[in-house]
């Protein structure tokens, strides 16, 4: 297993989309039990062009277009996993995953436990999440935190090219259902990736930027804004550490608490809603595990509590922005415990 860092071998330019496609191609080539199934994954090439070319390369048995039947094809993924295959089910977006919620929550998440360990479900479900593209309320949800509520599931949120490239294989090797949330705003993200980049470990959160004064905790589509905010804070003389959660369930509490215990301040950035969201969970863990280490009450920067509006200025006002992260952090730094 190789881990995604630039090496002497050199790098190439790619995108988040291209990195995921490469991971899919590798998985299909490497294991005959792997197949990709979902709406428009084949002939159309994927709604977000992620699976373009895979039908031609691997054929219709292994790159399966499905009807618009989220419940049936997710359930079929569960059954195929139980039957010895390693399915990758693509749900076009998290919004449509609600049509398969029964299969995900009542079956995929429960079968192993309900059967006393006899029937683990080695299924991977990929879906696009997030807002920012003026797609309005029914195409802009960020519900990965919701799914992270459910024991039995594992939740991955790649926010970097390395993770887009490297999380799929360990997810396929995992004996349990793994949901991978790809942020729709990241597909076009370009960057350099080491030529030999492959699977990454999915066990731990990552410190994407070290800092001593405050910990910014983010994941997925909010990682970029958190890093930009950290740069701006640097010019104010504030050293912000950025923790990329990478996996929302199980949550890597150790990395979060280690960082917060060093910096003594925390800001959680989440594209989901504040009430009952994953940000609330992370804050609770910090308060439970590092209360006496804190110099100030931890803060959150989340989406406004509205169904996402269409108009650009309203959508941008609803979403967490770099300015909001910077000002929340500055405000936090001004307080003393």
């Amino acid at each position: 297993m190789t881990f995604g860092t630039a090496t002497a071998i050199g790098t190439r330019r790619t995108t988040y989309r291209g990195a995921i496609r490469e991971a899919l191609r590798e998985a299909l080539a490497r294991d005959d039990r792997v197949f990709l199934m979902g709406e428009d994954v084949g002939r159309y090439g994927g709604c977000f062009a992620v699976s373009q070319g895979l039908l031609e390369e691997f054929g219709p048995e292994r790159v399966r277009d499905t009807p618009l039947s989220e419940s049936a094809f997710v359930g079929a993924g569960i059954g195929a996993a139980l039957g010895g295959m390693r399915p990758i089910v693509e749900i076009m977006t998290v919004n449509f995953s609600l049509l398969a919620l029964d299969q995900i929550v009542n079956n995929a998440a429960t079968l192993c436990h309900m059967s006393g360990g006899q029937f683990p479900v080695p299924l991977v479900i990929r879906m696009t999440t997030g807002a920012g593209r003026q797609l309005a309320a029914q195409h802009s949800h960020s519900l990965e935190g919701w799914y992270a509520h459910v024991p039995g599931l594992k939740i991955l949120t790649p926010g970097t090219l390395e993770d887009a490239r490297g999380m799929l294989w360990p997810a396929l090797e995992d004996p349990d259902p793994v949901l991978i949330f790809e942020h729709g705003g990241l597909y076009g993200m370009e960057g350099e990736l080491a030529l030999d980049t492959g699977a990454v470990s999915i066990d731990r959160a990552a410190i994407r930027r070290p800092g001593e004064d405050v910990t910014l905790i983010a994941f997925g589509g909010m990682l970029g804004p958190a890093l930009t905010a950290a740069e701006r804070l640097e010019s104010d003389g504030i050293g912000a550490e950025v923790v990329d959660l990478r996996r929302l369930r199980p949550l890597d509490e150790t990395t979060i608490l280690d960082s917060v215990q060093r910096t003594r301040r925390a800001v959680v950035i989440d594209e989901g809603w504040r009430s009952g969201g994953i940000s609330a969970e992370i804050l609770s863990r910090i308060v439970e595990g590092a209360f006496y280490d804190l110099d100030a009450p931890p803060r959150r920067v989340c989406s406004a509590e509205v169904p996402m509006p269409y108009a650009r200025h309203l959508e941008q006002a609803a979403l967490p922005q770099v300015e909001g992260i910077v000002s929340a952090t500055r405000d936090l730094m001004a307080r003393h415990g």
């Binding site: 197949f35 048995e61 499905t66 009807p67 039947s69 419940s71 049936a72 094809f73 997710v74 359930g75 079929a76 993924g77 569960i78 059954g79 195929a80 996993a81 139980l82 039957g83 010895g84 295959m85 399915p87 029964d102 299969q103 009542n106 079956n107 079968l111 192993c112 436990h113 309900m114 059967s115 006393g116 360990g117 006899q118 029937f119 683990p120 080695p122 024991p151 039995g152 594992k154 995992d174 004996p175 349990d176």
Partner: protein
């Protein structure tokens, strides 16, 4: 843990007798469960299939050991007919560690990997796409296996029924969709909930071949199932088998049965599948009082043994509460 019992079917007995024996086993087992429920040995929801035994007893033996079964929350009969030991099933009812789901499933969630018994699903229609996926795996791995999926007519009102039949038909997957039409989705009569009550027409709209059979006649069910399973195994794609049956007892132990008349229930009881098969075998001279008595004693002993096993079983230590949320070793 021994979930799978040895083949207990005596070779000396005819198929008709074996079918009768299985139905008596299921009924006796469930009557015992009802009694144990009132004694609070069994808790939670308990859905009995009394009256519907001919379906599980008739269809299940037409499957091979390599085939898979997906059932519903009214699945004691299917589990017994599949050959999961009555001990493991009863221990599960008691919530004991020796149960076929280690006490984590209960009556509605019987599982057994050894016999490819995939539950025990308590969401109406929830098992249908799982059956489609199991069949898809068989197809992709070139295994000549069949997946039998049992569900009630209530599931037909769920969108996932239509999605699943379409997908199975589109991909010509080896699934036997076996509909146990007992006319009531809990308390809602079929004709109060469906604009089209001919269920085969619904399945046929997906180009799935259909067959409807008297679900109170175990030999008719077995014959229809045998022929249908063969068609599925031969590559004929999914088939829909409707078994017209009736539930004699309440939906669950909490059901006051306000939605149907006593007369209706009594009328159906005159077509009791056990009584029908007994009369037929007597007419054919295959059974007599002595054999019926022998069957009853054997089964009673088997059930007493299962209850004793469950009573003697152990409780999973609370320290192991969170085991199996994820696969062991992951």
């Amino acid at each position: 843990m021994t979930n799978t019992s040895i083949d207990r079917k005596s070779p000396a007995r005819s198929e008709g007798i074996i079918l009768l024996e299985e139905m008596i086993r299921i009924r006796s087992f469930e009557e015992k469960c009802a009694e144990l429920y009132t004694r609070e040995k069994i808790r939670g929801f308990l859905h009995l299939s009394v009256g519907q035994e001919a379906v599980a007893a008739g269809v299940t033996p037409t499957l091979d050991a390599r085939d898979a079964i997906v059932a519903t929350y009214r699945e004691h009969g299917h589990a017994l007919a599949r050959g999961i030991s009555p001990r493991a099933i009863m221990a599960e009812m008691f919530g004991k560690r020796e149960g076929c789901s280690r006490g984590r499933g209960g009556s509605m969630h019987l599982f057994d990997a050894a016999t490819r018994f995939y539950g025990g699903n308590a969401i109406v229609g929830g098992g249908l796409p799982i059956a489609v996926g199991l069949a898809l795996a068989d197809r992709m791995l070139h295994r000549p296996q069949v997946t039998a999926c049992f569900f009630g007519e209530g599931a037909i009102a769920e969108g996932v029924f239509h999605e699943s039949l379409n997908l199975a038909a589109l991909w010509r997957l080896p699934v036997l969709f076996c509909c146990e039409n007992n006319l009531y989705a809990m308390g809602t009569a079929l004709d109060r909930s469906q604009s089209e009550i001919d269920l085969c027409r619904k399945a046929a709209s997906f180009k799935v071949p259909t067959r409807s059979v008297d679900g109170m006649d175990v030999e008719a069910v077995a014959e229809a199932a045998r022929e249908t399973v063969a068609l599925v195994r031969e590559g004929g794609g999914p088939h829909f088998l409707e078994c017209r049956t009736y539930r004699f007892r309440a939906h669950s132990m909490f059901d006051p049965e306000l939605y149907r008349t006593k007369t209706e229930v009594e009328t159906w009881k005159r077509r009791d599948p056990i009584a029908l098969q007994s009369a037929r075998l007597r007419d054919r001279g295959e059974i007599d009082d002595a054999l019926v008595g022998e069957l009853g004693r054997e089964i009673a002993a088997e059930i007493e043994d299962a209850v004793a096993f469950a009573e003697a079983g152990s409780w999973e230590p609370v320290e192991e509460l969170t085991r199996f949320v994820y696969a062991e070793g992951s």
